[in-house]
């Protein structure tokens, strides 16, 4: 009987701590769902420069954390997506964008695949045509064919 108060207090403590943990995790998401959504959309477009094949959305690098914090702040200040992307490009260059703008220095990047594709198609057409032109001569000449037909006719009877 003496143990009850202690147990109760323990329960109360656990409930308090657990409640605190839940409150701490859930609150920011619930209140800022729209902000988090925009943050994800923007940071998906940005390359993390520490681990270059990851986006800022996906990276756990310290810098990516900081940049997400900055983006969140700018969203809070009412900046547009365009302004936020410009902020990043002004500091880290076009390289931070997974889809860099089309301009003279990125023409090869954007156009290269299409030029290669056109080259490949051109080569394909060229070789197919050449192959058709060089069609192999028939296996039997006209005379040989008649001779063969005659032999076959004979064997029928």
């Amino acid at each position: 009987m003496r143990r009850w108060p202690v147990l109760l207090m323990l329960f109360a403590l656990v409930a308090l701590v657990a409640g605190g943990v839940f409150a701490g995790e859930a609150a920011p998401l619930a209140t800022n769902e729209a902000v988090e959504k925009r943050l994800m959309a923007i940071s998906e477009e940005l390359r993390c420069l520490v681990c270059q094949n990851e986006s800022i959305a996906g990276s756990q690098a310290d810098l990516a954390n900081d940049l997400r914090r900055e983006i969140r702040k700018m969203i809070g200040e009412g900046k547009t997506d365009r302004e936020i992307l410009d902020f990043m490009v002004a500091r880290y260059g076009d390289f931070v964008r997974y889809r860099p703008p089309v301009k003279p220095s990125t023409w090869a990047l954007w156009g290269g695949p299409f030029i290669l594709l056109a080259g490949g198609l051109g080569a394909l057409v060229f070789f197919l045509r050449r192959r058709n032109r060089m069609a192999p001569p028939p296996i039997l000449s006209e005379e040989q064919r008649r001779h063969a037909a005659a032999l076959l006719d004979q064997s029928d009877t």
């Binding site: 420069l49 270059q52 310290d62 900081d66 900055e70 490009v89 500091r91 260059g93």
Partner: protein, 174 residues
């Protein structure tokens, strides 16, 4: 023989591209800040938090801004080069202690030597973002008008110091 000529040429071109690719460092991202004014900041100094340092304080001088941290392994590699260079007193080197603890940073300098004219503390890395810092150490060469003239990413080696940084500093100091 002729039929091999075209694939061979294509292969040679590919090898050429790959060979050039090998000589380039994919981590060395060109900074868009070159030729632009160094982003302004005012931060507390490492050895005296009551004093602050502003970019504007350096107007009229050619200087180096070296971003470092006590947790950064590559900075350890670079540090002796900076300590040696600082002895010549050619240009002031301002340290930017990036996302670091003040106590750790002070201890680091006490142990390894302090090449910096002074060090500013960028505790949350906000100034680092303005400078496009993505991998410490990074070094900026800033001219008398406060324009960033060069950025060196990664540890400074005696070679990069003598071949890249010092010639530029000499030219800017004229």
């Amino acid at each position: 023989m002729k039929r091999f000529l075209l694939p061979l040429a294509a292969f040679a071109v590919l090898i050429g591209f790959l060979a050039i690719g090998l000589t380039r460092d994919p981590r060395d991202v060109p900074s868009p800040l070159i030729g632009k004014p160094a982003p302004a900041f005012t931060l507390p100094q490492l050895h005296d938090a009551a004093k602050s340092f502003s970019v504007a304080d350096m107007k009229g001088r050619v200087w180096l801004l070296n971003v470092w941290a006590s947790w950064c392994v590559a900075c350890r590699e670079e540090h002796p080069v900076l300590v040696e260079f600082a002895k010549t007193g050619q240009v002031p080197i301002i340290g930017l202690d990036y996302k670091d603890k003040v106590a750790d940073a002070r201890q680091w300098l006490d142990k390894l030597g302090n090449p910096y004219t002074l060090t500013a503390v960028d505790a949350d890395g906000r100034v680092g973002i303005d400078y496009g810092v993505y991998g410490v150490p990074e070094t900026y060469v800033i001219d008398k008008q406060g324009i960033i003239r060069m950025k060196h990413t990664g540890p400074i080696t005696p070679e990069s110091l003598n071949k890249k940084i010092l010639p530029l500093v000499a030219e800017l100091s004229r």
